[in-house]
Subunit: 243 residues, 2 copies
DNA sequence: CGAAGGCTTGATAGACCTCAAACACAGTGG
DNA sequence: CCACTGTGTTTGAGGTCTATCAAGCCTTCG
């Protein structure tokens, strides 16, 4: 518990620090936050549509997603979360969840009571911007996904997603220069990009055929990131990274 | 200027108050905010991708949108703004704009210097949640649009948009029980919903044929909102309205 | 070895797009 | 008052992208 809790705080620092520099007093304040750890198997829901959480989740290990279901049971994945992300930070200010959050791979999650988080923000107003920024970033990513779903072909959408995940994974300390392990099934990729599984598979094949990606199992190797970025019209401005 | 400024503050109060109750001291603090008014003709940009604003816009009159352009010049509208909305509030914490904002109809906009806004938030910490909530709401709407673009047919997307705008317009004091004036061209609807103009037109015809909407010029009359909501799978949870 | 989940393939259908043109209507200038 | 223009809407035809259905294959794992 002690060790894991330290890990939790480290993730929190790296992530929050990646968009805003943290002062020592801020770091100290964050260390005070009480955390409860929980583990989730793949496909388990962390939070559900309609819930009224009294704590926020901080993803420590694994990959998670937020999603909504249509009345016909079709799923749209709204965003992906990497370690350090806070999938339901908005619950601090919006009472009822308007989406669900599920683990994609086995995940460990730290929960922070709203009460404690509010306290820290009140005591340490300079931290407000740090957390607020996180929610703004989520919004920025959603907007870019809107462009993908609205105006890009399946081929391009996948290329774009692969580029986005590369950047986000690397910022989270995951993956190598040449590629990374993509923990998504083709059906999940389809759910994220508004595509059927079959079509996702075929677009993936085109990307392979064009030499933009090489796959060995779940590992995706990209020989030329610039080429993939061109195919996906990827411009990382929207990720608002420092430096 | 004096009068307009009052109008500005009124809009601010109504909008902010619609998701969170405002105390007297909060109201008072908001009245102190210095505002600069500007007018924009249709299609004029308020802010552009890449800009680094030093003030935030507050839409007073007219309808505006945020959008991005793809490299082939195709446009995706990311969100629509009604009077009271703050289209680039995020610039308070994210340096560079990752999207552009344009007037759709002739608009008047009040600008608040970041400096002043930061000051008010610092002096009046309870206002943080009020503004933060606004950005969270934008995110919630984006997510719902993702579901539309990813998993709904053109027919259903349009129905959904019409329902959303009805709620938002009414909250902004626009429109009547039976319908409202939709200030969007079919090409703009298409840009918002990821559709071509031609297909937008045809889907609109289907909605008319099915009796879900009646149009007289720009005015859209809806005989049965529940029926339209069913067609668009519209569930207003994501708008997080009070009461 | 069998079962389950994920990947791949083929065939067919439907949704949506593009191109091209006609039409409607309001605003403009002569 | 009437062409004239520009913007927005509508229509037709044809093609592309993507979905659906159905099946086979391949791995992993108990």
């Amino acid at each position: 518990m002690r060790l894991l809790s330290t890990l939790a705080h480290e993730h929190l620092f790296r992530k929050l620090g990646s968009v805003s520099a943290l002062s020592e007093s801020e770091t100290h304040a964050l260390l005070e936050l009480p955390l409860t750890l929980r583990n989730y198997p793949p496909h388990a829901d962390l939070v559900r549509f309609g819930d009224k959480p009294i704590e926020c989740a901080l993803l420590l290990e694994g990959i998670a997603c937020s999603y909504k279901l249509t009345s016909e049971g079709r799923r749209q994945i709204l965003s992906l979360f990497v370690p350090g992300d806070m999938p339901d930070l908005q619950s601090l200010f919006l009472e009822a969840m308007d989406y669900s959050v599920a683990a994609i791979t086995a995940s460990t999650v730290a929960f922070v009571p709203h009460e404690a988080l509010r306290q820290v923000l009140q005591t340490n107003p300079s931290l407000v911007g740090v957390f607020w920024r996180q929610t703004l970033l989520d919004g920025a990513i959603s907007r870019e996904w809107l462009v993908s779903l609205g105006r890009r072909t399946a081929y391009s959408r996948i290329a774009h997603l692969l580029c986005e995940l590369r950047v986000r994974f690397r910022d989270a300390g995951i993956g190598e220069e040449e590629g990374y392990t993509l923990p998504l099934t083709q059906s999940e990729i389809g759910d994220a990009l508004g595509l059927s599984t079959v079509h996702t598979n075929r677009a993936l094949q085109s990307l392979r055929y064009d030499g933009l990606i090489q796959t060995r199992g779940r590992y995706v190797a990209v020989p030329d990131w610039n080429a993939l970025a061109r195919a996906g019209e990827f411009d990382s401005t929207y990720l608002h990274r420092r430096g």
